[in-house]
């Protein structure tokens, strides 16, 4: 099984307190936490895995910066009011571009995304350990999906998915 949870908890699905709970290790006041560090028993996510991400971001920014700099040396700069007007088929632009452009369907879409994306979040860990939790786990997630589908069906019936142009 993948160790998306902790390595020393391979029975990660069982929620029974006697297994999940650390025995008689009371935390004590917060300042006492300072003496201990996180992750000393879990060895997966190390800095080596996410350092490259930083490097990559730095690299991209560097390249972009250099390119922009080079470009600024080469390109002409000759702005005048007409050129600086927004592109609008020759018409003069009037008012804020965003004004009145806000339509509810976009918003509904955003909400749907939030809901479904978050549900996907539950599905991923479940998918990883499905073989271990077996039928019971499957049934539970099935119920979850059914509820999700009810919501989906509701949205459909309600016309939230209709996009009139």
């Amino acid at each position: 099984m993948s160790d998306w949870i902790c390595n020393d908890h391979t029975d990660g699905i069982d929620l029974k307190p006697e297994k999940g709970l650390p025995k008689s290790r009371r935390g004590g006041p917060i300042y006492r936490f300072a003496t201990r560090s996180v992750g000393n028993r879990c060895s997966d996510m190390t800095a080596m895995e996410f350092l490259p991400v930083l490097f990559m971001i730095a690299g991209v920014v560097l390249v972009v910066g250099v390119t922009l700099f080079v470009s600024s040396l080469l390109r002409p700069s000759n702005p005048y009011p007409a050129k600086n007007m927004p592109y609008e088929c020759g018409m003069d632009a009037a008012g804020e571009a965003a004004a009145g452009r806000f339509r509810v369907p976009f918003f509904i879409l955003a909400i749907l995304l939030v809901v479904f994306d978050v549900e996907a979040m539950f599905l991923f860990p479940w998918a990883v350990v499905l073989k271990e939790i077996g039928l019971v786990g499957y049934i539970e997630m099935f119920i979850f999906m059914v509820l999700l589908l009810v919501g989906f069906a509701y949205a459909w019936l309600k016309g939230a998915l209709e996009w009139e142009t």
């Binding site: 929620l15 935390g27 004590g28 006041p29 039928l135 509820l147 009810v150 069906a153 509701y154």
Partner: protein, 479 residues
């Protein structure tokens, strides 16, 4: 978790399953209901709740801790669930006509109420901070939407937005406390916490956590210092929802407070001092500010703050009697408050809002029967015998004195004397002023039924409290 335990769990949560299934079915069916057939939704919703109530009764006989210790079906939960059923069913009955008048045609209204009911039921049964949190959020999210259900009304929108934002803040505060508790105890299960937190009560981290959790929960019951949302929300929300919120979610909040604080934490900290202070301040604020209100709904909002304060006195008292007193208080408050809200809702008809107290001037002259019922409810709220409200307060006081908190009891009664003023002021307006205009209350058979039920409860429990008292005492957890 094996298939057998899953089945056991499903069985123990049968009422919840009934409600959620019913709600889902209604959500879909609601899309096919044509205009003018909304009464189908009302009856279907009521039927769902009644079936759930039946299931709850079936399960009332034994204690079943299920879902790996996150959920429990015990008498304590059953008692609270019946308060919720009562509140929800009566809200359904009240809503039918009111929805027509306010132009609420959508089936979502009923479905959301059912989901809110589900959230409250989970709260009553939850024995893990996680399940408490889930139930709590299910409930409040539904009430957020319901508060803003009058989409075209600015007041409703604003109330809902305010509620959402403040509610989310309080949830955040609550969660922060939970995370600290989790850090200290290594578990979120209430029993596990009790086992892990048997150390010194003045642990600064624990105290901080408790303060945060108290703050979060206290918000839901509308106690000081997290009461600011309550008057605005009560005023802005559709009146039926206000009625519902003043009873159901409030009781649910108390169910959680009782479970969380009278189970593991009271032993571990001097939390009752915090609660006592909150109770005193809440009651004082609710009572005094209500004195100057002109809007009936706002007044009832402050009154409900004051009542929350009184119930917190019971929590502060603790012990079996303390818990039972809070439970009984909430039950009685449910009857009384729904009754008075039924009257307010009934007044909303045509262009008449019935929200200003002056609107009721001379009501007794034109509708003596209805005025008498309102009088009954108001005196019950004020705690005058022989109404049930008196017995509710009496029992809380008994619990307080039993634990030796006589000073708190004295403060409680003095403040409730202050609170009595604004109730009798309404009586005064109804009985001692001349009517300014004709009244046409929307008195449908359903509203009548609600009034009858609530009045019967208010006067019945007042005269024969014995059975209900026994019920509450037997339902204290573990019982």
């Amino acid at each position: 978790m094996t298939a057998a335990t899953l089945f056991q769990s499903a069985l123990a949560s049968l009422p919840e399953i009934v409600v959620i299934t019913g709600a889902c079915i209604l959500l879909i069916l609601g899309q096919f209901v044509r205009k003018g057939q909304e009464h189908f939704l009302v009856w279907a919703s009521v039927a769902v709740v009644l079936i759930a109530a039946l299931a709850t009764l079936m399960l009332a006989s034994e204690v079943r801790p299920v879902y790996t210790g996150m959920f429990i079906a015990d008498r304590f939960a059953v008692f609270f669930k019946f308060i919720f059923y009562l509140a929800t069913v009566l809200t359904f009955l009240l809503s039918r006509k009111y929805a027509d008048i306010e132009g609420i045609g959508s089936s979502e209204y009923y479905v959301l109420l059912l989901f809110a009911l589900l959230g409250m039921m989970i709260m009553a049964s939850a024995t893990d901070l996680l399940s408490i949190y889930v139930g709590l959020e299910l409930m409040v999210i539904c009430t957020y939407v319901l508060t803003g259900f009058l989409r075209r009304e600015r007041r409703s929108n604003e109330a809902a937005l305010k509620y959402v934002i403040l509610g989310a803040v309080s949830t955040g505060i609550f969660l922060y406390g939970v995370s600290l508790i989790y850090g200290l105890a290594g578990t979120t299960q209430l029993d596990g916490m009790a086992a892990a937190l048997t150390g010194d009560p003045l642990d600064s981290g624990l105290l901080l956590a408790v303060v945060f959790i108290v703050a979060g929960l206290v918000f839901k019951v509308g106690a000081v210092p997290f009461h600011m949302w309550l008057p605005d929300v009560y005023e802005g929300a559709p009146t039926t929802i206000t009625a519902f919120m003043s009873v159901g979610p409030k009781a649910a909040g108390f169910a959680v407070i009782l479970r969380v604080f009278l189970n593991p934490l009271v032993a571990a900290s001097d939390v009752w001092i915090i609660l006592a202070v909150i109770a005193v301040v809440t009651m004082a604020l609710g009572s005094f500010v209500a004195l100057v209100q002109d809007n009936f709904k706002r007044l009832l909002a402050y009154s409900s703050i004051a009542h929350a304060g009184f119930a917190i006195f019971g929590v502060a008292a603790g012990g079996a009697d303390g818990i039972a007193s809070v439970m009984l208080y909430l039950l009685i408050y449910a009857f009384t408050n729904l009754g008075i809200f039924a009257a307010v809702i009934m007044m909303r008809n045509g262009d008449f809002s019935g929200e200003v107290i002056e609107d009721y001037a001379g009501f007794a002259k034109s509708h003596p029967g209805l005025a008498l019922l309102m009088l009954l409810f108001l005196f019950s709220l004020a705690g005058i015998p022989p109404t049930a409200g008196f017995f509710a307060k009496f029992y809380v006081l008994v619990a307080l004195v039993e634990r030796g908190f006589v000073m708190l009891a004295v403060i409680a009664v003095l403040l409730s004397a202050v609170a009595a003023y604004f109730y009798i002021r309404i009586v005064m307006v109804m009985y001692m002023r001349e009517p300014k205009r004709a009244f046409a209350p929307a008195l449908t058979p359903l509203v009548r039924a609600t009034l009858v039920v609530t009045a019967a409860g208010t006067i019945g429990i007042g005269l024969f409290p014995s059975w209900f008292l026994k019920l509450a005492q037997d339902s204290v957890f573990g019982g």
